[in-house]
């Protein structure tokens, strides 16, 4: 690649001297690039048509009073102004970011510990790995409905028999506790994917590093903190950024568990945005979506910047 990009000045200088050689270089160069572009083209077309164009149209309509069809006119920034004074939207931001922050910590701590356990010398390693990955293959909405049943029926019966007050009623019906149920189910579903990435990371650490540490007399705990953790730092960054982004988009699990309730205690930003389509508030929720997009980009960039130093092994 480096020789390719430094080619043009040389080519200009030798243009008249070696026309044949120049033509050969140019042909080879064009050929290689063409193939790469061909690889990119299908994704580029699909991405543009299915994501970029609709996004731009959506942002355009956020400056109008459109309800999704029929006549509309420009209303300037009214939707954005109204948004910032809307407690429903502000509350959904608060809930979503709080939920994502808590979940991302829980998921990464648990997945990392599990990965350490599953890559050490234990019995039934393969079988256990399969067990822990099963939640990944079940769709979110199905998981949510199964847990919904457990929370609404099985757990309260258990709570009543043991005599625990707060457990004898469905925690999904408790505005102060419903979010914990959502964190729990989301974590249960998200841990396998995170776990797999950590396992890959742990397996990529060469064994001789540990051998050297053993010879130097490092305890297991020291090895974990001083060797394992720094060497998988890149994987932690990936998991945290991807996880946080995914949890901000929380939708199906919440719909299946609480549907935003009780009251509006667990309404996430994507759920609020979807009401714009069903409720004839298209332009307004497009403004919300545009805002959400900007915030997610900013958060991701900040996360990348903060962790850049540890991004490479």
């Amino acid at each position: 690649m480096t020789t390719m990009t430094s080619a043009p000045p040389t080519r200009a200088a030798t243009k008249d001297d070696h026309p044949v050689a120049h033509a050969a270089v140019a042909r080879r160069r064009r050929k290689v690039e063409g193939i790469y572009y061909a690889f990119l083209l299908p994704s580029l077309i699909l991405f543009t048509l299915a994501i970029t164009v609709p996004a731009v149209i959506g942002i355009f309509f956020s400056f109008t009073n459109s309800i999704g069809f029929g006549d509309w006119e420009f209303v300037g920034l009214i939707n954005y102004v109204a948004m910032f004074s809307d407690p429903a939207i502000l509350q959904s931001y608060l809930f979503t970011f709080g939920f994502a922050a808590v979940t991302v910590v829980i998921v990464n701590v648990l997945a990392f510990l599990l990965a350490v356990g599953l890559t050490s010398r234990i019995k039934l390693k393969t079988g256990l790995r399969a067990v822990f990955v099963i939640p990944m293959v079940v769709s979110g909405i199905i998981i949510a409905y199964v847990f919904n049943f457990l929370f609404s029926n099985s757990l309260p019966i258990f709570g009543q028999q043991v005599g625990i007050g707060w457990l004898s009623e469905s925690i999904l019906a408790n505005p102060d506790l419903a979010w914990t149920a959502i964190v729990l189910v989301t974590a249960w579903q998200a841990i396998p994917g995170t776990l797999l990435i950590y396992i890959a990371g742990l397996l990529s650490i060469p064994g001789d590093v540990y051998e050297a540490a053993d010879i130097d007399g490092a305890a297991k705990r020291q090895q974990l903190l001083r060797i394992t953790l720094p060497l998988v730092a890149g994987y932690v960054v990936i998991n945290v950024i991807l996880g946080f982004k995914n949890f901000l988009n929380a939708y199906d699990v919440i719909v299946g568990l609480t549907n935003g309730g009780p009251g509006t205690a667990t309404r996430s930003i994507p759920m609020t945005i979807v009401t714009g389509f069903t409720g004839g508030d298209y332009a307004y929720q497009m403004a919300n979506a545009a805002m959400f997009f900007v915030i997610v980009v900013v958060v991701s960039v900040v996360q990348l910047r903060l962790t850049r130093g540890r991004n490479e092994l």
């Binding site: 731009v56 069809f69 429903a88 009623e169 505005p175 009780p262």
Partner: protein
């Protein structure tokens, strides 16, 4: 500069979409017979109308009616390719299509003259389009308190007609160890449909309230003459009282399905649901003796009213390519015996001056009120979906601050008025 560039992109993209949609709609007119795409989304009604369509197609050589029960209406209208005839639930969301002139005028059809004026009025409560009758009601669902006749008889109780009588009935039931109301707060819609709509509708003139609220627009708030906080405060307080004193303790963890099962097993005497629940209850106990009565919220029996909704209404879009054929099929559907058979099977009330009276024991209790037009459309249905009314009501039912929530509703209403 940036904006105009984006605008250009959008125009180009929209033009592309339009080009595609016109070629698509061109296809439907091709072939020897004219196509009428008939949109019907109510699952229970599909077998009945499928039979009608088959019969119609076999007797008409020039027209072919096809059933569409799955396409997205909003997208259809957006692309200029809506169904040719719609027969579905009429509510705020459908009203938006009519308000923006997307539905054609049907006032010249003889069927329009047969519709009961007070039922046609229900359509106008959501929205109107000047000079047009764009929507013809086909079937109305009336809903009120469902009660277990056997329990009432065993306890020697009469159907209550005033709020005090209702409290007496509830006290008597509680004393006998029977739960008066079975509530299912896990499903927010059941709170809005039953508890909220019945208590508010029993006391407030719903249509008039929303007419005033629409007029006020951004003015709605603590100082406006009517507001959710001011007007709904009393009925919502009573709703909380009935819930707190007389409903099952585990209501917060119970959903609609649980409610039907429990009520069918006789676990409570009253159930705030609509006639759609009868079929579900019958799955558990087909012989249960059930009746209905309007929830009394005042001390005057004259104030009793039942909650109604337009379960099915017909319309023909302006953008339809085969309006004439669609109108002919509409006339076919609006024949007296076709309508009567449908309403009898689905426990609906007729919408025309000549429709047969209802006979089913379970909904007979609402007949006198329906005949007198003592009915209202649910207040929860008159608030745009973008405001999470059902969730708000769920919060109140679970013991939240009613006044705070109603004030939030006022603020939401004013904000919506500002931007639309």
């Amino acid at each position: 500069m940036l904006r105009s560039h984006r605008g250009g992109l959008v125009v180009a993209a929209l033009a592309g979409l339009l080009a595609v949609s016109t070629t698509l709609s061109g296809c439907t007119a091709a072939g020897g017979r004219q196509e009428v795409r008939f949109y019907l989304s109510k699952p229970e009604a599909i077998p009945y109308f499928n039979e009608l369509i088959a019969e119609y197609n076999s007797t008409h050589d020039d027209v072919r009616v096809t059933l569409d029960s799955s396409s997205n209406l909003q997208a259809g209208f957006l692309r200029g390719n809506p169904p040719d005839l719609g027969l579905l639930n009429y509510n705020m969301e459908m009203a938006r299509f009519m308000e923006r002139g997307a539905l054609s005028d049907l006032s010249d059809m003889p069927e329009a003259d047969r519709i009961l004026p007070e039922v046609q009025d229900l359509v106008d409560q959501y929205a109107t389009y000047p000079g047009r009758t764009s929507v013809l009601p086909y079937s109305v669902m009336a809903a009120s308190v469902i009660y277990n006749k056997q329990i009432f008889e065993e306890q020697g109780l009469e159907v209550p007609e005033t709020y005090d009588e209702l409290i007496d009935v509830c006290d008597a039931l509680t004393e006998a160890g029977i739960t008066p109301f079975y509530a299912t707060f896990k499903d927010p819609w059941t709170v809005a449909q039953g508890w909220f709509d019945y208590t508010v509708g029993g006391e407030v003139d719903v249509a008039d309230f929303f007419a005033q609220l629409n007029e006020l627009g951004t003015e709605v708030g603590p100082t406006s003459p009517v507001s959710f906080e001011k007007t709904f405060s009393e009925p919502v307080d009573r709703m909380q009282q009935l819930i707190g004193d007389y409903s099952n303790l585990d209501a917060a963890s119970k959903g609609y399905g649980d409610g039907n099962l429990a009520f069918a097993k006789g676990e409570a005497a009253m159930y705030l649901q609509g006639p759609w629940a009868f079929g579900e209850i019958a799955k558990t106990d087909p012989d249960l003796d059930l009746g209905t009565f309007p929830l009394p919220m005042t001390d005057d029996p004259e104030d009793l009213e039942v909650r109604v909704n337009i379960d099915l209404a017909a319309w023909i879009p302006e953008a339809s390519q085969s309006k004439e054929a669609a109108r002919e099929f509409l006339s076919y559907l609006f024949q007296k015996d076709v309508m009567d058979a449908y309403n009898a099977a689905q426990l609906g009330y007729g919408t025309t001056t000549d429709s047969a009276p209802v006979t089913d024991e379970r909904i007979l209790g609402m007949k006198e009120y329906y005949d007198r037009a003592d009915f209202y459309q649910g207040p929860s249905k008159a608030i745009p979906l973008t405001i999470p009314t059902e969730n708000y009501m769920q919060a109140i039912a679970l013991g939240g601050q009613a006044d705070d929530t109603l004030r939030t509703l006022d603020a939401d209403w004013a904000r919506l008025a500002l931007r639309q």
